[in-house]
């Protein structure tokens, strides 16, 4: 009894990473436990019903799960917990969704009382049709996603054996000239394809686009790619042309400005969720072609209407891509039930250890407010408080000092408040990209930054996602969207692309001491801290004195 694992009463598992059996144990528990936190010494996994059912779906049984826990646990595992796990897993597969030759989509059961129980639910009743025999009931084909989601909420997850449509075939292949899919990307594509649909979680800069491309090559069918904004759409297109056999003409862009539908179509969430007279006119895009694969980029940002529509697309393969599956609205489980379970997840530090993302030095710089600012802060309205402390003048001095220190390197300054950014841009002599900057101008500036023509760029939150700045080595965050954890992770991601000379990336977060800015910062850093990024804290005075 000296295993690396400690089973807690709240169903979290603590894994001591320095233990000699840690790797074996990690492999044994990975199929059913969700990695929640991965700091230096003890990693925390969580056992959830969803995780257990996904394990069942992947072919693991309760005995394996129990054996893994008992084998690696340091202390006796409470019997009640083992029983609970076995019972939870036993709930999966009592109901099955399948195709019936005569009746189409049907829900069948191996345990009649369960079927009776779910059919009595008010939420299930509108989704099902006629009772075919005591153990079988017809399901409206359009409600496949809805019924799966509802059954999951009722605690009787259905095994979906109805399969996928192949979609319209379209040859796509990877063009691996001088590059190749990394092992973990391969693994991700394979896991996804084997599972049918699902979500792949990879750190920022670890090449999620290539996983998408790999999945498309695997599917070899028409593909709909949903992305967050137009810039991102262009980058996808650029990358696909570069990495696959697809040509410019085969890839369409469906956005506010262009409405092309081609074998591979890249659409923005924004255009899909545009509402006119109470209807979503562009949602028909989903039906406009016989798509064989739908890729959701940055799936953690998936807007609610798209969720709803995704529920109706259960017969098509779906791939979700994200770096941080933390939604501040807590709808992670909807992502899992509608797009699919998590098929691949790699801890950031693991990818870093393999050299695919740059090691980063995270520093929180604490600045003091001046006396007059403190008074202004103390008397500010609650909703204005964050703005007051986040835009303190001292931050400008600190930012200038950091930029000076890294003179000659590519530096990004990221912030929330336009006034602050404009002022910073002025003082640093750097261009500012914000909401009103046109797409053409944005791309021009990005290009110049990429080429090294300009070394400092000030960006607002419009550039939060999917901008591709390979040579940024330093990011300075002066303010953010309150306590958003995934924004912090995305911003760190801007500097994690591996550097040509292999040196370290730097991430500075400038925070006003003793204000809610500091509280938000603590919350924002939590995700990264749990991924093993240890923030260093510095005093502004210290930093100013050094330079």
């Amino acid at each position: 009894m000296n295993g690396p694992l400690i089973v807690q009463s709240d169903k979290t598992l603590l894994l001591e990473v320095d233990h000699e059996q840690a790797d074996d144990c990690r492999r044994a528990i990975a199929p059913f436990a969700e990695l929640e936190r991965a700091p230096e010494h003890i990693h925390t996994y969580r056992v959830t019903p969803l995780g257990l059912w996904n394990a069942r779906a992947a072919g693991h049984d309760a005995e394996q799960v129990v054996d893994a826990l008992v084998q690696y646990s340091r202390y006796p595992v409470p019997h009640a917990l083992l029983v609970d796990i076995a019972e939870t897993m036993d709930r999966y597969g009592r109901l099955t969704l399948s195709k019936h030759p005569a009746h189409g989509l049907v829900l069948t059961t191996t345990d009649r009382p369960v079927l009776e129980e779910v059919l009595r639910s008010k939420r299930i009743a509108p989704l099902v049709g006629a009772r075919i025999d005591p153990d079988t009931v017809a399901v409206h084909p359009s409600e496949r996603g809805q019924i799966k989601q509802t059954l999951l909420k009722l605690g009787w997850p259905a095994e979906d054996l109805a399969g996928y449509v192949d979609g319209e075939a379209h040859p796509i292949a990877l063009r691996e000239d001088g590059w190749a899919l990394r092992p973990y990307q391969h693994q991700a594509v394979e896991n996804f394809w084997h599972g049918g649909s699902g979500v792949v979680v990879l750190p920022c800069g670890a090449g999620k686009t290539l996983v998408g491309a790999g999945a498309m090559a695997q599917a070899a069918s028409t593909t709909l790619i949903l992305v967050t904004n137009t810039v991102s759409a262009r980058q996808w297109k650029h990358e696909l042309v570069k990495r696959t056999t697809l040509t410019e003409d085969e890839i369409g862009e469906y956005s506010g400005t262009r409405k092309e539908i081609r074998p591979v179509t890249i659409a923005t969430y924004q255009v899909l969720t545009t509402r006119r007279k109470g209807v979503y006119p562009h949602l028909e895009l989903f039906d406009s072609r016989d798509w064989g694969l739908i890729v959701y980029d940055e799936v953690h940002l998936l807007p609610a209407p798209v969720f709803k529509f995704t529920a109706d697309l259960q017969a098509r393969r779906r791939l979700g891509l994200t770096a941080t599956l933390v939604r501040e609205d807590g709808r992670e489980s909807d992502v899992f039930s509608l797009i699919g379970p998590k098929r691949f997840d790699a801890p950031w530090k693991e990818i870093e250890a393999q050299g695919y993302i740059a090691p980063a030095d995270c520093v929180e710089v604490r600045v003091n407010l001046t006396d007059s600012e403190r008074l202004a802060y103390a008397t500010a309205e609650a909703e204005e408080k964050y703005r007051f402390c986040a835009t303190t003048a001292t931050k400008r001095k600190v930012t200038e000092a950091i930029v000076r220190r890294f003179a000659g390197q590519q530096v990004l300054v990221i912030g929330q408040y336009i006034d602050q950014l404009d002022e910073l841009g002025e003082h640093l002599g750097a261009p500012v990209i914000k909401g009103e900057t046109s797409n053409a101008q944005r791309e021009k500036l990005f290009d110049a930054f990429r080429q090294g023509e300009i070394s400092v760029l000030v960006v607002s939150k419009v550039a939060n996602f999917s901008i591709d700045l390979p040579e940024a080595t330093v990011a300075i965050q002066v303010s953010g969207t309150f306590g958003s954890r995934q924004e912090e992770a995305q911003r760190l991601g801007r500097v994690l692309r591996p550097k040509a000379d292999g040196h370290q990336a730097h991430f500075y977060s400038v925070v006003a001491r003793d204000t809610i800015d500091q509280d938000f910062a603590a919350h924002r850093q939590r995700f990264l801290a749990e991924q093993g990024y240890a923030y260093r804290i510095m005093d502004a005075d210290e930093l100013l004195a050094e330079s």
């Binding site: 807690q8 003890i42 006796p76 019997h79 804290i537």
Partner: protein, 865 residues
């Protein structure tokens, strides 16, 4: 009921229970008294009195309730057999015509038990069930017997006209007789003769046989219309169904027995149902012990957490006693368990004497001094203390949240939770577990079935009787406490029980596990054949655990010894991480745990503990009097890894701001722009009484109130002015005095309020009834009471008169004092006298009521009209 077994003049010895008892040896009498301890309180003066007491209803009921199912079935069979009955008749009733070897083997033992308990007496040729037991168990229309048998032909034809009986006899194909008695006897003889009876029934129409088969296993009563169908007519004509009341017929006992093949019971259970192992997967004894030890550790942690939660004053005590539902909920949330489980922990801590009410005016629960001692002991001892207290407690946490007989909610720690059967059931369940091979977990249902066999309920069997619930709770609680692991009894649980390792065997001595002990049917003087277990004198059939305190302490110590090596060793270090958490990969040594509990919030519990440092938690530690450098040193000393920079920073950051603002209380202040004057005042010795303190060069704070301060300063020769809260100089003047808001007094009307119509009519009725009682003509035994006066008789006279009235069915005039002391006169017709109560039809109130005899001042017979 003071019925006694009078000598009934029959020739065979013994002639009464008293005589039978007289013939028994001392060991056998001791066994009787051990089995029925109620007979010795108080000690009877002689054997006649013992026999009388053994025949009282309360005592017999108690004894019957403690019989196992087979013994009870035997008693039930005796109740429907002849009186007296020979052994063979009893055997035939139990085993049926075809015989049953298991029953035949077990019967002597069951009979021995009944004899030992003085429920049956007489030799094997003349077995007699004690009369009270016979009354309790034999069938009557009100209380159908568990055997489902009806009255005998003799009983059922008792009120029938002789002519009708002769008709029955003739219809059944028998010669007519002289009188009703011999006719009934002839019918009985026919019905008990299997061959003739089979022939008779062979002629019955199919529907008639159908009717009989419906009634055969009881209840034996059926309804008929005044003009019955032909097949019913056929049965009625031959006495195969006998009328009991208009429209009701009964299947006579002899007919039913014939149809049943002689069996009194549909099913007999001569052998106790075995306790079955659950499922197919059984754990190894090591795994069971390890799991139980893990749970034992969790139990300790939970109780300690509960006590810590209540450390600075627990929840308030409800006025009716106990914990409010809200407090229980809160505690459940704090412990992160469900409410019933929280109730269990709270009750456990209470039973172990770790918490109690503080007895203050504003009563609250708090930890006891015992708790402080308990806390300092090794973990295994602490557990043994808890488990020992649990095993012996009569308080039953499982009842919490339920309702009592008055529909009041039963609160945790409140009154009404004691169930005297609890320790015995707990012990019995664990003993059954101990009888299984080590590591075997039983099927809970088989445990319950076994318990129901050992102590069946009279009357209809329920799934949810108290004993079954107690047993179910025992299984759950034993698992929570870590007495069992994965459902099987652990070795430390076994030790706690006082059962030998690894397998209990002595248990069989106490239960009828081994019905092979032969009681020869011929022993006329049943001698108690089993010696009492050595070292447990006076132990009843169900001793709750090792009975004397020494043995109990030894069992606890043995359990602690076995448990100690299985509990994890407390650690002296934690792992600190950059995400501001600390993980203790096991239990911590107490001082370390105490400090960490203050310094950080617990995020997750179990084998390990995850702590999170937050500004609030660090502030708490600083408030508790620790300095930042203390905390740094503490973390550095107890961390296996370097202290992460953000954590060190967090502590410094919080410490920097800690105590920046200071708060204190002053009741007045002195303000002066001239520092020198304040210096003067402070230097003056006379100002000491004002308890002045300098807060700033120009401000003094005083503990004296403003008026005293003004007086004091004036006495020192200064001319101070009072200041208002806004800083203005106050001009003093006397204020007019006012009361708080008051309402004017309400007028008080003269005399009581006018009664309403309902009240009036009720009063009139009562007056008229009282009038009837006082004016009814009555017989005058001795001195007639003055009109309107209550009759007065001695208690003995009262009892005798009332009992006589029950027999004659006459009405009586009684004087009665109610619970409030109000006397009244009533006219009653007594129906039953029992246990100090008279049940009677009250003419005055026009309903059946029950009166305690001691409240009846006297009785008089009513004069005949």
């Amino acid at each position: 009921m003071s019925s006694d077994e009078k000598p009934d003049g029959r020739p065979a010895a013994p002639r009464s229970l008293a005589e039978a008892l007289r013939a028994r040896d001392d060991a056998s009498l001791a066994a009787l008294l051990r089995a029925r301890p109620d007979l010795v309180a108080p000690v009877p003066t002689d054997l006649t009195q013992l026999a009388t007491r053994a025949g009282t209803r309360a005592s017999v009921v108690r004894a019957l309730e403690r019989l196992d199912r087979f013994a009870l079935q035997t008693a039930e069979a005796l109740a429907v057999a002849g009186d007296p009955a020979p052994y063979d008749e009893l055997l035939a009733l139990m085993a049926g015509d075809d015989g049953d070897t298991a029953v035949a083997a077990a019967l002597p033992h069951a009979l021995g038990t009944l004899r030992e308990q003085a429920l049956v007496w007489g030799g094997d040729d003349r077995l007699r069930l004690v009369r009270t037991a016979r009354e309790l168990l034999s069938p009557s229309p009100q209380h159908p017997s568990p055997t489902g048998l009806g009255p005998t032909v003799q009983e059922a034809t008792a009120g029938m006209s002789p002519g009708r009986i002769q008709e029955l006899v003739t219809a059944a194909g028998l010669p007519s007789t002289h009188d009703a008695v011999s006719a009934a006897a002839a019918l009985t003889a026919l019905f008990t003769d299997r061959e003739r009876m089979a022939k008779l029934l062979g002629q019955a129409p199919a529907e008639a046989r159908e009717v009989l088969s419906r009634l055969v296993w009881g209840p034996p009563y059926g309804q008929v219309t005044p003009d019955p169908a032909a097949h019913l007519r056929w049965l009625l004509d031959r006495g195969l169904l006998l009328p009991t009341a208009p429209g009701t017929v009964v299947l006579p006992r002899e007919v039913a027995l014939h149809l049943r093949g002689g069996r009194a019971h549909r099913e007999t259970q001569p052998v106790p149902p075995p306790v079955e192992p659950a499922g197919t997967r059984q754990s190894s004894p090591q795994a069971v012990d390890a799991t139980a030890a893990g749970q034992a550790y969790t139990a300790l942690a939970t109780v300690e957490e509960l006590l810590k939660d209540w450390d600075e004053g627990g929840p308030a005590v409800l006025r009716a006693g106990g914990l409010s539902v809200r407090d229980l909920k809160r505690t459940a949330v704090a412990l992160d368990v469900s409410e019933p489980v929280a109730a269990f922990w709270v009750e456990l801590a209470y039973a172990a004497g770790l918490i109690a009410s503080d007895g203050e005016a504003d009563e609250r629960y708090a930890a006891t001094p015992t708790h402080d001692e308990w806390r300092e002991r090794p973990a295994a001892d602490r557990w043994a203390e808890l488990a020992g207290a649990w095993l012996a407690a009569t308080r039953t946490a499982g009842l919490v949240g339920g309702r009592d007989a008055k529909d009041r909610t039963l609160a945790a720690l409140g009154p009404g939770l004691d169930r005297s059967a609890a320790p015995e059931v707990r012990h019995r369940v664990l003993a059954l577990l101990a009888a299984l091979p080590a590591g075997t977990s039983p099927d809970p249902e088989s445990v319950l079935a076994r318990l129901r066999w050992e102590r069946p309920l009279r009357g209809p069997q329920q799934e949810d009787d108290l004993r079954s619930r107690l047993a179910r709770w025992t299984l759950q609680e034993a698992e929570l406490l870590g007495v069992t692991g994965r459902g099987a009894l652990s070795s430390h649980g076994r030790a706690l029980l006082g059962a030998p390792q690894p397998q209990a065997a002595d248990d069989a001595a106490r239960t009828p596990d081994s019905p092979d002990v032969p009681d020869t049917p011929g022993d006329k003087l049943p001698v108690h054949h089993r010696a009492a277990p050595a070292g447990t004198p006076g132990a009843g059939p169900v001793p709750p655990g090792p009975s004397d305190p020494q043995a109990r302490a030894a069992a606890r110590a043995a359990a602690a010894r076995l448990l100690a090596p299985l509990l994890p060793e407390p650690l002296d270090h934690v792992l600190l991480q950059a995400d501001l958490t600390a993980v203790a990969p096991g239990p911590l040594q107490r001082p370390l745990a105490d400090v960490l509990d203050v310094l950080a919030d617990v995020e997750s519990k179990g084998g390990a503990t995850v702590y999170r440092f937050t500004p609030a938690s660090v502030r708490r530690a600083l408030d508790a009097g620790r300095s930042a450098s203390d905390l740094h040193a503490f973390l550095a000393a107890h961390s296996r890894t370097p202290v992460p920079q953000p954590l060190a920073y967090l502590i410094d950051d919080v410490a920097r701001r800690h105590g920046h603002l200071r708060v204190g209380a002053a009741s007045a202040y002195v303000r002066c722009d001239d520092d020198a004057v304040l210096n003067e005042i402070l230097a003056d010795k006379r100002s000491a009484a004002l308890r002045l303190r300098r807060l700033a060069p120009t401000v003094l704070a005083a503990q004296a109130d403003p008026a005293a301060l003004l007086e004091g300063l004036r006495a020192l020769g200064y001319a101070p002015a009072a200041e208002s809260a806004e800083g203005d100089v106050l001009i003093t003047r006397a204020d007019a005095r006012r009361t708080p808001p008051r309402t004017p007094p309400a007028p008080v009307p003269e005399g009581p309020p006018v009664p309403d119509a309902t009240l009036l009519s009720a009063a009139v009725r009562a007056i008229r009834a009282g009038d009837l009682a006082s004016t009814a003509p009555r017989k005058t035994p001795g001195t007639p009471p003055a009109p309107g006066e209550l009759p007065r008789t001695s208690p003995a006279e009262t009892l005798a008169t009332v009992q006589a009235a029950v027999l004659t069915g006459e009405a009586l005039w009684i004087g009665y004092v109610n619970a409030d002391g109000a006397a009244s006169q009533r006219v009653i017709a007594p129906v039953r006298v029992e246990g100090g109560f008279v049940t009677a039809y009250d003419h005055t109130a026009d309903e059946v009521r029950t009166y305690p005899l001691h409240r009846i001042t006297g009785v008089a017979e009513l004069a005949d009209e």
